[in-house]
Symmetry: C3
Subunit: 156 residues, 3 copies
Amino acid sequence: MKVTLVVFSGDMDKAMAAFNIAIGAGSMGMEVSMFFTFWGIHILKRPNAPSRAKGLIRRMLSMMSPPDARKLPLSKLNMLGMGPFMMKKLMKQHRMPDVQEMMSLAEQSGVKLIACTTTMELMGISKDQLVEQVDRVAGVATYLSEASESGINLFV
Amino acid sequence: MKVTLVVFSGDMDKAMAAFNIAIGAGSMGMEVSMFFTFWGIHILKRPNAPSRAKGLIRRMLSMMSPPDARKLPLSKLNMLGMGPFMMKKLMKQHRMPDVQEMMSLAEQSGVKLIACTTTMELMGISKDQLVEQVDRVAGVATYLSEASESGINLFV
Amino acid sequence: MKVTLVVFSGDMDKAMAAFNIAIGAGSMGMEVSMFFTFWGIHILKRPNAPSRAKGLIRRMLSMMSPPDARKLPLSKLNMLGMGPFMMKKLMKQHRMPDVQEMMSLAEQSGVKLIACTTTMELMGISKDQLVEQVDRVAGVATYLSEASESGINLFV
């Protein structure tokens, strides 16, 4: 069984849901690909990587976007960052991994993390600005060929 | 044909879309499971069930979340509750069922409602606080085994 | 291989993601159906078509909704329309098609655009207010019969 997830959202809660499914599937022996596109690309950004976005709009977009997986907003109850802070605290109390830790667990379960070419070009993000867990950078044709072989396809 | 829906969202409009698909599939003889996770868990809360969430963060989360399916926000045009009020009025004029009624229709069509274990633990919600239509409480492994047998998988 | 997409969202970014997948799949020879429901119906509205919504709520809903595909909001960083303006500028600099152009490309790739009956009735939108690229108006039973034959099913 193959599983392919499109991670369109850059929200912490949706990233957690996607990684939970991916890690679960990976540890059950399924072959998992996660395709990060649009806002989802921010999840893959390497902490403290300097932005090299060129052009006014790209630089503004970069400034207004979360710098990496540790600073993702919540899709609900974000409350200017209070929500994610509380959620992370709750998860820690509960001994649940955060998104960064989930990314490593996913890699260890054999989950392939793929970054979307078009998004990276549009937002002015280069491969060396992404975390090392990223398997490769690819476009929609790659996604579709993975998805067409998958029994579980989700858009998150 | 088997259908498995992840209901991640706790928004009225998305819940309606998910239930519409589920009821349609159920009445066409398909085997349907709906897996309620994260914000989606609020859809399953029993009206007037007292919150027993422990700890400051959980109590705050509980206070800021919709108490049950009758009080869900809209994902767009929520306008502090005006949007859902208007949408419900429009649906009534149109003789369309609301989310609570859809849940009963789903159950009657044989749709299985499954509540996510991890979400319930995280948010401090126990099984007796959920509506009686809930078939069972289960984790990601159960979801994945249902999903891997399903021809239609959606993440709502 | 058949692909069926539910386009529930009326956001520009999600519409772009859906059309990108649809166009890619169509040009790879896959058979693609896009089923536009709820907020997604606004993507299909014909530019400058006069609203004929009847009743106070429907008229208000119509007034507060994007008039057509050129005026869709972003799901993030909308900033009262600044976000979509900047995104469209960035896409133009990048020679990427906008949503309207994607709709034509989709049609040329053989993608079938289907508008949801229930949504149209609920929101008071008639077929002649939709763009000519719309293949037909259909309900959840049609969606489910398409989806049950599809290897890739997504909810956007």
